[in-house]
């Protein structure tokens, strides 16, 4: 047996080490593309174990991939070069709310939704709300800098991180940031680490910011016969002085898919709908609700809908949530992108997506967090159809290029992982990417920490086909 496996066995309880093929296969994938068989899967339940594991990996130059619950959409935890998958999902959950400080300190395995749940017991809220919050671990959210519908008003994960504890790629423990809202001491390593996708170390604890829970929410839905108008309405709302907590967009294909899947009474003949949520004081909401209705109508919305009850509002949001499963019925494979553009460019992006769809004869539906320019073009295809997947690869490439051309970015909330690495230079430029790489090399001199992510190999291309 390998020396490094023996070393791991010496430092960890037997139950936390997996070498059987079935177990290794079970950690070979995430919610994105591709499968890569690790040589071993180990579980850490305390930071001392992480230190031991990382030190062994570093000493023996074995790649190591931190993993939460594997809900990543960009390939973050995939063991692309073999080696060790480090499963952090079984770490005992610790949530320590410090209500008077409006902070919470958590262990990496905590499910993100549980942080919000704990905060709400104190009249507070943890604002980032990725759709996977009830499954995904905060460790994974921190690594990928996850977003969610509320990102429009509150921002993404990085906007809520005050301090971190990290095991460096050489097995040392460091702390960054702290518990204060203001903290300008030195280079901001906290921000550097959030979104570094596990390439700079293993996060073992985080202190997060909480905000007061808004006393009320109000839902609205606007119906459009023209996609461009919907885009304009979004821009106009946002420049009007009102900041909704969510502004979600669904195109006709999504509306129809949802109505076919679980009818919610959405207008299937509309070109697009925009679903808005306002949060704040009830009186403010009633004024803002009127203002938004006016804006929508002036721009040319066919209809605006104010749900009569909480139940009706829940129904609308439920319909929005059904988009992902509903479109999966159109075709089995879903390539879900999160290319993001400046908000004024949403209508242009919609046009570009339409062109790409026609040019490559692929099925693309669009929904997403339009309020922050974060669209989710979903290419629907069938993994088993190699010829089609070839066309999909081309379409995806063009989607990324379109976002960049319009002054946008490759990823609004999913991260780069393996899926978008080939396009990094297009967005950052050669030197920009090189500066990132230098940081990586300085932190991780032996290159053991989550290799194959963010940084492309020479000539790396997007591959969705299996050989």
């Amino acid at each position: 047996m390998n020396e490094w496996i023996e070393a791991l066995q010496k430092h960890l309880p037997e139950k936390q080490i997996m070498t059987h093929l079935a177990d290794r296969h079970s950690y070979s994938f995430d919610a994105s593309f591709g499968e890569y068989l690790p040589e071993i899967v180990v579980q850490a339940k305390k930071k001392e174990e992480v230190v031991d594991i990382v030190k062994i990996a570093n000493e023996h130059r074995i790649p190591i991939y931190p993993r939460g619950q594997g809900t990543c959409l960009s390939g973050g935890p995939l063991p692309v070069n073999g080696g060790i998958v480090l499963d952090l999902s079984q770490w005992p959950e610790e949530i320590d709310v410090s209500a008077d400080d409006l902070t919470v300190t958590v262990s990496p395995s905590v499910l993100t939704a549980n942080i919000d749940k704990a905060a709400r017991e104190h009249g507070l809220m943890y604002a980032p709300d990725p759709s996977s919050a009830h499954v995904a671990t905060i460790g994974g959210n921190l690594a990928e800098n996850s977003g969610g519908p509320r990102g429009l008003k509150y921002g993404v994960t990085k906007d809520f991180v005050l301090g971190l504890e990290l095991v460096t790629p050489e097995g040392e423990i460091i702390r960054t940031g702290g518990k204060t809202i203001k903290n300008v001491t030195g280079i901001d390593l906290t921000k550097l680490l959030v979104g570094s996708e596990g390439t700079l170390g293993v996060i073992t604890e985080a202190t997060l910011k909480l905000v007061p829970k808004p006393p009320a929410v109000q839902t609205l839905m606007a119906v459009f016969d023209d996609v461009r108008l919907a885009g304009q309405a979004i821009s106009r709302t946002l420049t009007s002085g009102i900041l909704p907590s969510k502004m979600e967009f669904m195109d006709q294909a999504c509306i129809r898919a949802v109505e076919n899947f679980q009818p919610a009474g959405l207008p299937t003949d509309a070109a697009a709908i925009v679903i808005i949520e306002l949060d704040g004081h009830p009186e403010t909401l009633s004024i803002e609700k009127e203002l938004i209705q006016d804006i929508m109508k002036n721009i040319g919305a066919r209809d605006t809908v104010i749900p009569e009850s909480q139940e009706d509002a829940t129904k609308i949001w439920h319909a929005r949530k059904q988009v992902s499963p509903a479109i999966a019925k159109i075709k089995p494979t879903k390539v879900s992108e999160d290319a993001t553009v400046p908000r004024s460019k949403i209508p242009d992006m919609m046009d570009r997506l339409k062109e790409i769809k026609e040019r490559h004869n692929v099925e693309i539906v669009v929904f997403g967090h339009a309020g922050d320019g974060n669209l989710h073009p979903n290419v629907l295809c069938d993994k088993r159809d190699q010829e089609e997947m070839g066309r999909v690869e081309l379409a995806v490439e063009e989607i990324f290029q379109a976002a960049i051309d319009l002054g946008g970015t490759l990823s609004g909330e999913h991260g780069i992982g393996t899926m978008k690495a080939p396009f990094m230079e297009n967005e950052l430029g050669e030197v920009g990417l090189d500066m990132m790489r230098r940081i990586k090399d300085a932190w991780d001199p032996n290159g053991i920490m989550n290799p194959g992510k963010i940084f492309p190999e020479k000539g790396q291309k997007l591959v969705l086909r299996s050989e």
Partner: protein
Amino acid sequence: MSSVKTLQEKINYDKTFDCVQCGYCLPACPTYETMERETHSPRGRINLVKMVAEGKAAIEDLQEPIEKCLGCMACTTVCPTDVQYGEILEGAKEVIEDNQVKSKTQQKTEQFLFESFFPSKGWMDTLGNATWLYQKTGVQKIARSFHLTKVAPMNLDQFEKVLPDLPSPKERKRRAKRFIRKRPATAKVAFFTGCVMDSMFFDTNQNTIELLLRSGTEVVLPEQQTCCGALHAHSGKIDQSRELAKENIKAFEEEQVDYIVNNAGGCGARLIEYHHLFEEGTEWHERAKQFVAKVKDITEVLAELDQIIYTKPVEKTVTYQPSCHMSNVQKVKQPPRQLMDKILGLTLKELDRPDFCCGSAGIYNILNYEDSMDVLDVKMKDVCSKQPEGIVTTNPGCLLQMKLGIEREGASEEMDAVHLIDLLAQAGPVGKWE
């Protein structure tokens, strides 16, 4: 057809593509929670099925993860893409079963259990009668005091402790096959007695018939009915399961009835899926569909007919452990709660996680005793935090398992477990028309 193609078809390779590996099933899965690895999660199992179909893993690699699945189907209720996990699981079991090399003794034992024992009314009665004899003659007492029960195989001694007192063979024989009303009936019901249910929980079945009669229905017990086939399907013996389904369909076609009623969540789940056993467009598929359309759990029928008032208060605080198969496959969730609401004096404290499996899962708790107890421990922690005086269940497996849970917690002084039907029978049921 190549053997790869056959394997792929049998193992439902195509259906695995519906899984987008989002992981939403992870928090719902009891074995993922207790066994702490992806291999024992629905997503992990589906992926392994795919790996086997693609020749990247062997059927042997699949065996343990599939055998350790409780089949509680909690994952299917949270799956956003509606993956047919039940079909994938059964396909995998069938392939594992086909692939297994078994010793002669093992073959003989299984053959006896699945072909003769469960489907046979005679054997089931014998089991019930033997247990009665064992309980009544004092053998049970002697065996316990000399710790003889400890030498029983597969931890059966644990279950022996919690079996209910059984009726005598005479009582068993005396039961009528047909309960006709003098006044016009509200409905005609065919009662599916269930094999284990009828042998080990004879009184619950009697109470079921009694409640149906008090609801103003006419009740028949078709004589040719047999085991539902759930245990066979869970063990990968789909062909036998299909044969049993045919026998039952035939038996229940004899009479024109409005409902085919059962009182065991696990059986009910199998009965309502009979049409999946037959290819669409075939005559049997059609006949199965007609059968399935009439299948209802007893609680659904009682709640729907709503012809009974409960006159005797049961001053008790209870909690409710719904059967997974009833909640997740039959989707019967509210009727049992509605019925408990009608019992005077009864307080129902809901569990924090009522939909978390108790670990019984057919004969899982016998085949995988330790793993089942890990699941049970999670359940009992929830139960004990509610400090109830009783646990109400709707499935014989859950009932025995909860009784065992109470024993393990050393809480038999404080609480007991009861089938909802028996609880209703205690509550002085009187027909509204009586």
